[in-house]
């Protein structure tokens, strides 16, 4: 099964679609943060942007974009922007490595990329927080809800890419 994430490789200028992805992410933050439906876990969906970034953005521009994204994210979270930006960039590098080894064309490779993106971002934020705050340590409870969050985001991420594929087909 072949998938495309909203553009063909021959498309010259995906600037517009990238801006749309970041804007959609911003709207999602505004929408989800206003909801009280899921108190135990949150779904920021940043992993989708990171997978998109790993596929289409150069590492220099991605770094600059992550700083902007970190400040946007700071409007909806108390996570320090620098910590968020570093987590994003580290995840981005891992995804770039993954993409260099695996061509993202099939549903399976998309799924692995998405899961890697969501999981790594959460774990990195947890890890970086643990470096600066002594109260942060391993917790099965947090791990459980983190996995629930990753699975939920992953499912939604697949729906998102599926809808893009349908739109672009």
């Amino acid at each position: 099964m072949s998938l495309s994430i909203g553009r063909s490789e021959t498309e010259k200028d995906p600037w517009f679609s990238s801006v749309i992805v970041v804007l959609l992410w911003t709207c999602w933050l505004a929408f989800f943060s206003a909801s009280t439906a899921f108190e135990s876990f949150r779904m920021p969906m940043t992993g989708i942007v990171l997978l998109w970034a790993a596929r289409y953005w150069s590492w220099v521009w991605a770094g600059l974009a992550f700083i902007i994204m970190a400040w946007i994210y700071h409007q909806w979270s108390q996570i320090p922007p620098g910590l968020f930006a570093l987590s994003c960039f580290a995840t981005f590098l891992a995804l770039r490595l993954f993409i260099s080894q695996v061509e993202i064309q099939s549903l399976a490779s998309y799924s692995i990329g998405l899961a890697l993106s969501f999981l790594m971002l959460e774990i990195l934020q947890w890890s970086f927080l643990g470096r600066v705050l002594p109260e942060v340590s391993f917790s099965w409870s947090v791990m459980f809800w983190m996995l629930v969050s990753v699975v939920a985001q992953f499912t939604l991420g697949l729906v998102f890419y599926g809808s893009l594929r349908t739109t672009s087909a």
Partner: protein, 280 residues
């Protein structure tokens, strides 16, 4: 190529700028929420820019809620109901304080001239969004500096202590919940008058930190704010002790606290407008 191509030297220069920018953000952001001047204008600017987006989604949500309510109740009845609810909530807050003050009077019979503290000036506010991170517990409220909200002001609800104001914008503010892992508050156990330090945890629970081994605390004890420090007035309920691990080898212990406030269902809160000194 997604972005304009840059030659190798420029690429390295941009990367260096990114690293410097990232490190600047990382090291200049202290974890009590205070940002340096360089960061503050960016934060305020972005708050201004993202405000219409928040307003759009908040407006949509309000529209849905109001439409549903409109089918259920008449507008006039609804308005009256809301007003009564507000008054009841405010009275419950006062009643809660009165109960604690009354108990304090009983214990200190020699202080018969103890006078009732002046009424707190409470500003009702509504939670409009919650923190998107799994590790932080905070919320944005629809009141800001225009309504007199300042950083560090206490936030309460009819059930008890909610947290404190952490960042303030013109018409909005960020409230850090007491369950946030960066929160700390001086409390007092109602039964034994033991002074304790209450704080949040990564799991979003509340704990008593640094308890001495022989501290007189038991399961079921109720903890109130002690008034020590510069944030919270005394007498607000924080929670009930539900677990106390007693390790014979430990010098200091922790205890688990059941929050008095149901943070998951929290919608309406009150910002205590005056500083603690003026209420004592």
């Amino acid at each position: 190529m997604l972005f304009p191509s840059v030659n190798k030297q420029k690429s390295w220069l941009l990367f260096l700028l990114f690293i410097l920018g990232g490190l600047n953000l990382y090291f200049h952001f202290s974890f009590d929420g205070v940002m340096n001047e360089r960061g503050r204008w960016v934060d305020h600017g972005l708050s201004l820019v993202t405000s219409p987006i928040r307003a759009l989604f908040q407006g949509s949500r309000d529209l849905v809620v109001e439409s549903t309510d409109g089918l259920m109740r008449l507008r006039s009845v609804d308005a009256e109901n809301q007003e009564i609810k507000g008054r009841v909530a405010q009275l419950e807050v006062e009643l809660q304080r009165m109960a604690e003050l009354s108990a304090e009077n009983q214990r200190f019979k020699t202080l018969l001239d103890f006078k009732e503290k002046s009424k707190l000036r409470l500003l009702p506010a509504r939670i409009i969004s919650r923190d998107m991170s799994m590790f932080m517990r905070s919320a944005r409220i629809d009141r800001g500096s225009e309504q007199g909200v300042e950083r560090g002001m206490a936030v309460v609800s009819p059930q008890g202590v909610v947290g404190q104001v952490d960042r303030v914008f013109e018409g909005e503010a960020i409230v850090q919940f007491l369950t946030d892992l960066n929160s700390r508050l001086d409390g007092v156990v109602e039964r034994s008058r033991t002074q304790v330090i209450v704080g949040g945890s990564m799991e979003g629970d509340m704990k008593l930190y640094f308890l001495a081994r022989r501290a007189d605390v038991r399961q079921g004890d109720v903890v109130f704010s002690s008034g020590t420090g510069s944030i919270f007035p005394a007498g607000f309920k924080i929670g009930t002790i539900v677990g106390h691990s007693q390790d014979p080898d430990a010098i200091l212990e922790d205890a688990e606290l059941e929050p008095a406030v149901s943070f998951g269902a929290l919608e309406e809160i009150f910002v205590v407008l005056q500083k603690q000194e003026s209420t004592r």
